[in-house]
């Protein structure tokens, strides 16, 4: 007990009583210690219990959950023995939480200054008169520009990144010694995320804070944390320094997680971690990971491995951690997973001078204000997509990438320009006017399968819709075809009768993919199809898309904010900013110099799960609400801006090699 840590969780089990009066454990005998000034990353797939553990560290349990056994100490205070008032003094003061979606955690009707003042009033013991100075001090600590003006703003007037900074500022108001961070950068753009992480890292260092950082993003963990705890099915399976864990993971699960992350330097698709974790309440005999583990043998399936401490100061829950090298070699063997390459040279879809506008000011406003209409959301997009190729569209939120997809699908009408299918058919703007034949040829897969599958339809009904509509199938033909489609997405026939709520996230997305391919499309539009999935599942979905493409020669337009994912799957990549094309070319060329300055900024901000790489932050993470009226779209944030020419003249298309085009005023030679 003399080595008592700052945050000390011992043998904690957390669970709930189900309606059938069974006790279901969400956390099983978890121990976790964090010292002063130490930052620990908590990793695992969704449902692994990582958020529950982080909240338990502050003595909080979600409704229905309770501690079954074990202890939670913070600063030698027993957090499980305190009553509500005592806990409240500690929470937000000495021990602060920064939640995932800060936009929702700020009160929309209170000005930023008032919200922080409240935290000060509760936790700082400062005199009321000193509040204003202190608020400005904290706001500048989190590197928010012009804090004096910000005090009077409301949360909705700030961007997502700024809101997250305010949430951090509120946490800092109580001068905390420990921070709990629950996915604090999930949902933010890459550049914003990189900035926030740098901020957290510096804060932790300057103030010697203990941090518990919960994330599924190993890139973020590698940037911020000294040590990593990997959780699986409510258990700790591996703890160690982040360097050891990320470079040479000793547990097969951690190994699988790491190999399933697509990386910029990798040429092939990442290797998927098959299967799914056990649900809480499922009976587990032996090792919980045995079903998904390539090293598993009879011992693993009958006895549950203890958490053993290794000489390297790592703790590991695995019988075969000494055989982990075999895994590395076996996964290296699947190198032929290289994305199926390249089209036939024949253009299948042409976007000509495409312009799309959302802003529709009313007749009266236009008449009264006499101001020019705002610039189009998407403008001047000219891309020819070859049959059988995969075109990746990347950019931050607001770059218009999803808008372009919806326009191709006919869900949004363009203001200008045309969409030409197979070089001869000009597609009508509205989906209602398109002939059934053309509708069938273009199918779309959406970001979130929870939203794109009707919760009241069974898988059979979901698949029947395109089959009935396009091929008039019914009866046995319909059933056989549906089964075949499920097989193609690696799901069994028994899935036909399930409802979406009875499927896991990855299974749902597979069904959505099967539905798109039921139409036997020529072009499939993928809108952030892996963003809502765990990395392990993401790899499997990417692999599936790749296999389907190999078999059928389908053309993909793949939209994502994740540059590594786009690189892994695409033949060509187009980089968009504010609805304008910055750069387009073969993916290898785009990810190499010469770069468009924006591509350079994006690539610099990418976090890789590698402790030896650091992001370079070359531009501010401001969010622009509308594109500039003329000149280069990136002019306001560009770190390499030349001057007036960027503001007035549309940048020329400079051709580098093999069709690699960069829209920039700076000569190609200087764009390295």
């Amino acid at each position: 007990m003399n080595t008592s840590s700052f945050i000390d969780i011992q043998n904690l089990s957390v669970g709930y009583t189900s309606r059938s009066q069974k006790i279901i454990k969400v956390l099983r005998d978890v121990s976790l210690t964090i010292n002063r000034g130490e930052s620990v990353g908590l990793v695992g797939e969704s449902g692994s219990g990582k958020s529950t553990l982080a909240l338990a560290a502050m003595g909080y349990f979600k409704r229905g959950l309770r501690a079954l056994n074990g202890s939670v100490h913070f600063n030698n205070i027993n957090m499980l023995g305190l009553d509500h008032d005592e806990l409240q003094k500690i929470r937000g003061g000495n021990l602060a939480l920064i939640p995932q979606n800060s936009g929702q955690s700020l009160t929309p009707t209170l000005r930023i200054g008032r919200q922080i003042a409240e935290a000060l009033r509760l936790h700082s013991g400062l005199d009321q008169t000193a509040f204003d100075d202190r608020i400005i001090e904290i706001l500048s600590q989190v590197r928010l520009p012009n804090p004096a003006a910000l005090i009077n703003r409301y949360p909705h007037e700030l961007s997502g990144g700024q809101q997250q900074r305010v949430a951090i500022a509120m946490a800092l108001a109580g001068q905390p010694d420990a921070l709990l961070l629950d996915e604090p950068t999930t949902g933010l753009d890459v550049t914003t995320q990189a900035h926030i992480l740098e901020l957290l890292r510096d804060l932790a260092r300057d103030r010697n804070m203990a941090m518990l950082y919960v994330s599924h993003d190993l890139g973020a963990i590698s940037r911020v944390c000294d040590n990593v705890v990997v959780m699986y099915a409510g258990e700790v399976v591996l703890t160690g320094s982040s360097r050891q864990t990320l470079l040479a993971p000793k547990h097969p699960y951690a190994h699988g997680l790491l190999t399933s992350i697509p990386r910029l330097k990798q040429k092939e698709l990442p290797v998927a971690l098959d299967g799914r974790p056990p649900m809480p309440g499922e009976t587990i005999t032996g090792c919980a990971f045995a079903d998904r583990c390539a090293l598993a043998d009879d011992q693993c399936r009958t006895a549950s491995p203890p958490l053993t401490r290794l000489e390297s100061a790592e703790s590991i829950r695995c019988f075969h951690h000494d055989k982990i090298d075999q895994l590395t070699t076996s996964s290296q063997r699947v190198k032929q997973r290289k994305a199926a390459r390249k089209g036939t040279g024949e253009t299948t879809l042409g976007l000509e001078d495409l312009a799309i506008t959302y802003a529709k000011s009313g007749f009266l406003t236009q008449f009264l204000s006499n101001s020019p209409p705002p610039p189009a959301t998407v403008d001047n997009i000219n891309i020819n997509i070859e049959k059988g190729e995969t075109l990746g569209l990347v950019g931050e939120s607001g770059s218009g990438k999803s808008t372009i997809l919806k326009t191709i699908a006919g869900l949004i009408s363009p203001k200008n320009g045309g969409i030409i299918l197979n070089q001869d058919t000009k597609l009508t703007a509205k989906v209602e006017d398109r002939p059934s034949m053309n509708l069938r040829q273009i199918q779309m897969i959406f970001q979130n399968p929870d939203d794109s599958l009707n919760p009241r339809h069974t898988v059979a009904q979901i698949l029947a819709q395109p089959l009935r509509l396009y091929f008039q199938l019914s009866g046995k033909d319909l059933h056989d075809r549906s089964v075949k489609l499920l097989e193609q997405v690696r799901l069994g026939e028994h899935y036909l009768s399930r409802l979406p709520s009875q499927l896991s996230g990855g299974e749902k997305q597979r069904v959505a993919i099967a539905r798109a391919f039921a139409a036997e499309p020529e072009i499939v539009l993928c809108d952030e199809v892996t963003s809502a999935l765990d990395v392990s599942v993401q790899a499997a979905v990417l692999d599936l898309l790749n296999v389907l493409k190999k078999e059928r020669g389908t053309t993909y337009i793949f939209v994502s904010h994740d540059l590594a994912v786009v690189k892994a799957i695409s033949d060509r990549v187009a980089v968009l900013y504010q609805g304008r094309l910055c750069e387009i070319g073969p993916s290898d060329a785009v990810y190499q110099a010469p770069f468009h300055p924006y591509t350079d900024v994006l690539l610099g901000a990418v976090l890789e799960p590698d402790p030896d790489t650091a992001p370079t932050l070359s531009a501010d993470d401001v969010v622009e609400l509308s594109p500039p009226a003329k000149g280069c779209p990136f002019q306001r944030r560009c770190p390499k801006k030349l001057g007036e020419i960027c503001e007035n003249q549309t940048p020329p298309a400079q051709i580098s090699n093999q069709g690699h085009v960069i829209h920039c005023h700076i000569p190609l030679k200087e764009l390295h």
């Binding site: 398109r434 959406f446 009241r456 339809h457």
Partner: protein
């Protein structure tokens, strides 16, 4: 094997919801109260110990005893027999009017939700203005004009109680049509009718079912209130609202005339409300989560 199990699960969503419903205390109590009243309404003419019309001046306002369990009213009629039969008319009228209200209100609400935009806003303000008038006033105008028979009461109740349903159906429609599965169906080229029928309706129906149960209890209360005011059931047909109205003058010295119908009416309404609550939870659309603070 696995197929058979999952198949069964999905085919009988209604059954699963029902099982969930009765497994909740509120659902079990509520549903048994409702069932009790429904069964009673059917069999009461055969089990009532006395004729509800039978007047006996020697029994006027007599207290409960072994023969007349709930005493007698001011005309010397057996209160117990009248209470047993007092829900028949109310259940019949509201039992027909409620589905009618949900159907027309749901139809219009979904239509407004689909139309959207400015027209929808304008129409909803009309609905709001309509709802801001006290319902009893509006209904009395109709009943005074057309009379108070069942043939008038059913369409009147159905009309007035369908208006709030518009709001619910419209809100549910707005929630559903913004979701990606509707966009997905649209992008595939399904017809508007097919999208409404297959994608929208199954998702709006849950909300409508719960709303229907709530409307039913409100409507019962309204019907009894009308009877209480003398605009509902005409004597001598027994009705709880009318019985309460008749007996309230003697409440200070003969309270038994009120107690029977009051307990009957409130138990039925509580039963319906409990069922509606549990139904919302069983369908997973309950919004009344416990507040965290």
């Amino acid at each position: 094997m696995a197929q058979a199990i999952t198949h069964q699960f999905e085919k009988n969503r209604a059954l699963t919801v029902l099982k969930d419903l009765v497994s909740r205390p509120s659902g079990a109590i509520g549903l048994s109260l409702v069932m009790f009243h429904l069964v009673l309404a059917i069999i009461s003419p055969y089990i009532a110990p006395f004729d509800y019309k039978l007047q006996n001046s020697s029994l006027m306002l007599s207290a409960p005893d072994a023969v007349h369990w709930l005493g007698a009213d001011h005309l010397g009629r057996d209160v117990f027999s009248r209470t047993l039969m007092g829900g028949r008319e109310a259940l019949l009228v509201t039992g027909i009017a409620t589905p009618l209200a949900v159907i027309w209100g749901g139809f219009i609400g979904i239509l407004f939700g689909l139309v959207g935009g400015r027209l929808d806003e304008v129409l909803m303000r009309v609905v709001d203005a309509f709802l801001s008038l006290p319902w009893i006033l509006k209904m009395l105008v109709i009943i005074v004009t057309f009379g108070s028979g069942t043939a008038v009461l059913i369409p009147t109740l159905a009309f007035f109680y369908g208006v709030p349903v518009i709001r619910i159906a419209r809100a549910a429609t707005h929630d559903v049509i913004a979701r990606d599965f509707v966009w997905s169906a649209k992008a595939r080229g399904h017809s508007r009718i097919s999208i409404i029928w297959r994608e929208l309706l199954p998702n709006v129906l849950d909300a409508l079912m719960v709303e229907g149960a709530m409307r039913w209890s409100w409507m019962l209360l309204a019907f009894s209130s009308l009877s209480f005011l003398g605009f509902g059931v005409s004597p001598p047909t027994p009705d709880w609202g009318l019985m309460i109205s008749d007996a309230r003058g003697f409440m200070s010295f003969a309270p038994w005339g009120v107690i029977g119908p009051v307990i009957a009416l409130s138990s039925l309404i509580i039963g319906i409300n409990l069922t509606a609550d549990a139904l919302a939870k069983a369908l997973g659309i309950d919004r009344a989560q416990k507040a965290p603070v």
